[in-house]
């Protein structure tokens, strides 16, 4: 197929989809409308279980099984990346030369690193109270470690980041989520049911039953996953070279 016919095909098909989507949009409820039956019920259920952040309650209590699915996708994607980006037999590692980094950049990175790391952990820990949670805090904590690449050099980063440990951590936190789910079978008859732990006092760190536990498991999993992913990509981009003469 020539690029010209392909473009024509895309334009015709796109015009059809556009027409259908616009027709659908015009019949959707108006933006900002007042009728949100699911939302109202989710808020009521969340308040009944003493979880201040209703979004955390939806994620880790009312739709916890859905989050298990999301987490499995995340885990599978990380495993896929690790397999695809491994060092093959015809490749070797070249030690990257330490590069000169401007002093202000270096100083700024080293000052911000602990602040960013603590912010990430705070965001994970307060997931059931304020905006944030395992998904967001995990990414912040994991990317903050990589400021060390800017502030010091690649070798310093490798020292605080034994990738194998993070791979184990990823698997452990995924199983922690499953085990917390199985524990739900003890208190009641449902997988991932939030009935085992007391709901606690509204708006305190230990409120919400199993929500903080699942939240912490997801936070650890996301942090480990992002560290492993970035490590594999950095390896490929900085260290691994193909054998010359091939």
């Amino acid at each position: 197929m020539t690029p010209r016919t392909r473009l024509l095909l895309v334009l015709v098909g796109g015009a059809g989809i556009a027409a259908l989507l616009v027709a659908a949009c015009l019949r959707l409820p108006d933006f900002g409308g007042d009728s949100h039956p699911y939302g109202d019920r989710a808020v009521a259920a969340s308040l009944a279980r003493q979880t201040a952040n209703t979004i955390a309650s939806v994620n880790f209590d009312q739709r916890a099984f859905d989050t298990l699915g999301e987490m499995t996708i995340l885990f599978a994607a990380v495993v896929g990346c690790v397999v695809l980006l491994r060092q093959t037999r015809d490749e070797h590692r070249a030690r990257p030369e330490p590069a000169d980094v401007a002093r202000p950049v270096r100083r700024y990175a080293l000052i911000v690193l602990p602040v960013a790391l603590v912010t990430g952990l705070y965001v994970i820990a307060h997931g059931q109270l304020s905006p944030g949670g395992g998904f967001q805090g995990g990414v912040v904590a994991a990317t903050s470690l990589h400021l060390l690449y800017l502030g010091a050099d690649y070798r310093a980063l490798e020292r605080i980041r034994p990738v194998g440990m993070y791979e184990v951590g990823d698997a452990l936190s995924a199983s922690a989520y499953l085990i917390t789910g199985l524990a739900g079978l003890i208190g009641s008859a449902a997988f991932l049911a939030n009935t085992l732990l007391p709901y606690g006092t509204f708006n305190t760190l230990s409120s919400g039953g199993t929500v903080p536990l699942l939240n912490a498991a997801v936070g650890m999993e996301v942090a480990c996953a992002v560290v492993v992913l970035l490590a594999r990509f950095l390896d490929q981009a900085v260290e691994i070279e193909e054998e010359s003469g091939k």
Partner: protein, 83 residues
């Protein structure tokens, strides 16, 4: 007032998305995607979704562009060695 912020953010998001597709060089596209991530985070804050804004800021503003740039570097380095 809130409506005005939402409309401005929506227009900016649509514009950034168009530019991100129109820029054909992947390294520059990664930078535009980082801007798109930040603008999306502003839009999500304006429609009262701070949780989503936070994750969009971390993922769209930092993680995805970083992964794209690392891939560009890997692919370019291979091409450079072949020549």
């Amino acid at each position: 007032m809130a409506d005005a912020v939402i409309v401005v953010a929506l227009v900016l998001v649509a514009g950034c998305a168009t530019v991100a597709v129109a820029v054909r060089d992947p390294a520059r596209q990664a930078l535009v995607l980082a801007v798109l991530g930040v603008v999306l985070a502003v839009l999500f804050t304006a429609v009262q979704a701070p949780d989503v804004a936070l994750s969009q800021l971390a993922v769209g503003g930092a993680l995805t562009p970083l992964l794209l740039l690392l891939s560009v570097r890997k692919v370019k380095r291979r091409k450079g060695r072949e020549r």
